[in-house]
């Protein structure tokens, strides 16, 4: 692109230029994790197509969420309520389409859930921006509120904390295939993941809105001073995150055929972890959607890969932690080596 010479510049190899992309460092982490399991568990089925589909599906649900969460993080905000949002959107859809309770068509149910999620997202954003409170605490409170409302609501309607028996409804609805079906041997969620990642990545890199996201996250004040509508940008991001949570909820509920009030719990931290592994800064203003997707893939692979190894399951979490740490350290090391120029 730039055919411009300057005597104040060392030449930089194309390889190093590649490593400068925030997302590409994390690919190294991915490769290491993959190799680890290929060696440790190659003979117990880790390398089969079944296993690939298996971890792709787990990564996909996290990845859909992480793509939106990454955008929100680049925009300088957090959303801890996103896990509870999955839970409540899931039971909401399940109750609404359930033959014993809602009787509604799936499309309407999903629409209602989406509207609800957008309302919550809007409220989150509005509160954060109006009060100037950190999004961490506002959405932490919202996490409790949604989780509690979910339990209360579900028990009120069903007397139980699990809404099951959706199998027939799902089987009859063609719309359900959009969330729970499969294409070319891969579950719908993987295609959603791919689509969401590509679209949000384009939004981030190729639209003015994306530029505003970077601005709002890097320094909201400075961005506002040069005319970025920070308020609108951040509210949109909060709503987008809630929508992503609803999509994940729809996928989970429809593919499992039941919804549990605890679903989604803890996903908020996983999504943040995936984004950070993929190069997003917690302080905002820097990161990439593709990186977050790769981060999700790493986490999904670690979670599922461990089952194929012979490691004592008691020590399971040690390995998860160790692999996350290893992946980010490697990623970071590679990135630093080649990008001393960038901060």
């Amino acid at each position: 692109m730039v055919a411009h010479k300057d005597e104040r510049l060392h030449p930089l190899s194309p390889w190093k230029r590649l490593l400068l992309r925030p997302e590409l460092g994390s690919i190294a982490g991915l490769i290491v994790v993959f190799l680890f399991f290929a060696i440790m568990a190659g003979n117990t089925g880790f390398l089969t197509w079944l296993s690939v589909r298996n971890y792709l599906e787990v990564a996909a649900q996290l990845g859909i969420l992480a793509a939106a969460v990454a955008l929100l993080m680049i925009g300088g905000e957090f959303d801890l309520s996103v896990g509870s949002m999955i839970g409540i959107a899931g039971t909401l859809i399940a109750v609404l389409i359930h033959p014993d309770y809602g009787h509604l068509p799936l499309g309407v149910a999903i629409l209602i859930a989406l509207l609800f999620a957008m309302g919550v997202g809007f409220f989150n954003g509005w509160l954060v921006l109006r009060t100037g409170l950190p999004s961490f605490i506002v959405t932490l409170a919202m996490m409790f509120i949604l989780a509690g409302a979910n339990i209360g609501f579900t028990k009120m309607v069903t007397n139980l904390t699990i809404v099951s028996g959706l199998g027939d409804v799902v089987a009859k609805s063609s719309l359900a295939h959009l969330f729970a079906g499969s294409l070319l041997g891969l579950p719908a969620s993987v295609w959603w993941w791919l689509g969401v990642t590509i679209v949000l990545s384009l939004v981030l890199l190729r639209t003015p809105f994306g530029n505003w996201v970077f601005g709002a996250g890097g320094d909201a004040n400075a961005a506002r001073n040069v005319g970025v509508p920070v308020f609108r940008v951040k509210i949109t991001l909060f709503m987008l995150t809630a929508i992503a949570a609803t999509v994940v909820a729809a996928i989970q509920t429809l593919s499992i055929g039941s919804a549990n009030v605890l679903n989604g719990q803890g996903k908020e931290l996983e999504a943040v972890a995936a984004s950070v592994i993929g190069g997003c800064l917690l302080t905002g203003g820097y990161g990439s959607v593709i990186g977050a997707s790769i981060g999700s893939l790493i986490l999904g692979m670690v979670q599922q890969g461990i089952v194929y190894t012979n490691i004592d399951t008691d020590w399971y979490k040690v390995l998860v932690g160790g692999m996350i740490l290893g992946a980010v350290i490697l990623n970071n090391y590679l990135r630093k080596r080649s990008m001393e120029v960038r901060r």
Partner: protein, 289 residues
């Protein structure tokens, strides 16, 4: 003056098993006209639970119902309640220590024994290598179910830890475990949260019917699977009674000084099988079984 009874257990309100207990508590309250309050920590947490019991005692209820998964952690708080003159009934776990702590009587049954029952049942079906799917490692009740299961089976039991909030993760972990060790011929899940995704994993890998599959606790989906013969059994502790009975007992004890003479009232284990599943389904939908 209406009587007020507080129930403190180790099972969070969101747990399918405990939500049925809570339904029993509430029905009991309605039936004998007492005010009931159900309290539990968010996760399996003995420190929190002891604090909740302390708070309950401080609120001077007319009766207290507790579960005792860890006697040495909760003993002090329960003894304090007894000392304060509050009648206490224990439910679910703690049958062995109840009397020692001054508890009037125990309703329910040891998790370990129930697990053992499941193990024996699978052993009879010829299972040699089983998987125990644990959705909350560290929850002692669940640990004991797995342990009892292993002892009852006498064969190889692998514990598969999964995250209870991620059904897809559970499903895929089970199918990965099955893929890794094709000789697995039995699966026990410790609750409907894990049972439903496991069912899907079995369906997807075409092993349905080839593997003995049982679960703890009921849900409509579990019962439906049972009646369709997709599962072999579900262990039913009739936990609704664990909630209902103590309220009735305490109310009568408080009002009239009446109490059953048994020290332990067993509510289970009952086994629900494809044969008797159909009749339970409606009750399960109402949150009674």
């Amino acid at each position: 003056q209406q009587l007020r009874i507080v129930v403190v257990t180790h099972g969070q309100a969101s747990d399918p098993f405990w939500s049925v207990v809570k339904n029993g508590v509430e029905q009991g309250g309605k039936d004998v006209n007492v005010q009931v309050e159900y309290r539990a920590p968010d996760t399996f947490n003995m420190v929190r639970m002891a604090q909740l019991i302390d708070a309950a005692v401080a609120s001077r209820p007319d009766g207290l119902v507790v579960s005792i998964p860890d006697a040495s952690a909760l003993g002090k708080s329960i003894e304090a309640a007894v000392k304060a003159g509050i009648p206490v009934i224990s439910i679910n776990s703690g049958a062995d220590v109840a009397a020692k702590l001054g508890v009037l009587l125990h309703v329910g049954q040891e998790e370990y024994v129930a697990g053992q029952g499941a193990g024996k049942r699978m052993k009879a079906a010829g299972v040699k290598n089983a998987l125990c799917v644990n959705q909350e490692v560290g929850n002692v009740g669940l640990d004991q179910r797995c342990k009892g299961f292993a002892d009852g089976l006498g064969g190889k039991v692998t514990v598969l830890p999964v995250k209870l909030s991620d059904p897809t993760g559970i499903k895929n972990a089970v199918s990965a475990a099955l893929q890794k060790d094709p000789s697995i011929d039995g699966i026990l899940t410790l609750g409907p949260t894990a049972a439903e995704p496991t069912l899907q994993a079995l369906e997807a890998s075409g092993k349905l019917g080839k593997i003995q599959f049982g679960t703890f606790d009921l849900s409509p989906a579990v019962l439906k699977a049972l009646s369709e013969k997709k599962m072999d059994f579900a262990i039913d502790q009739q936990q609704w009674l664990q909630g209902y009975l103590p309220i009735v007992f305490l109310a009568n004890y408080k009002r009239y000084g009446l109490l059953p003479a048994n020290e332990i009232i067993y509510t289970g284990p009952g086994f629900v099988t494809p044969q008797n599943a159909a009749q339970v389904i409606e009750l399960s939908k109402k949150g009674i079984r």
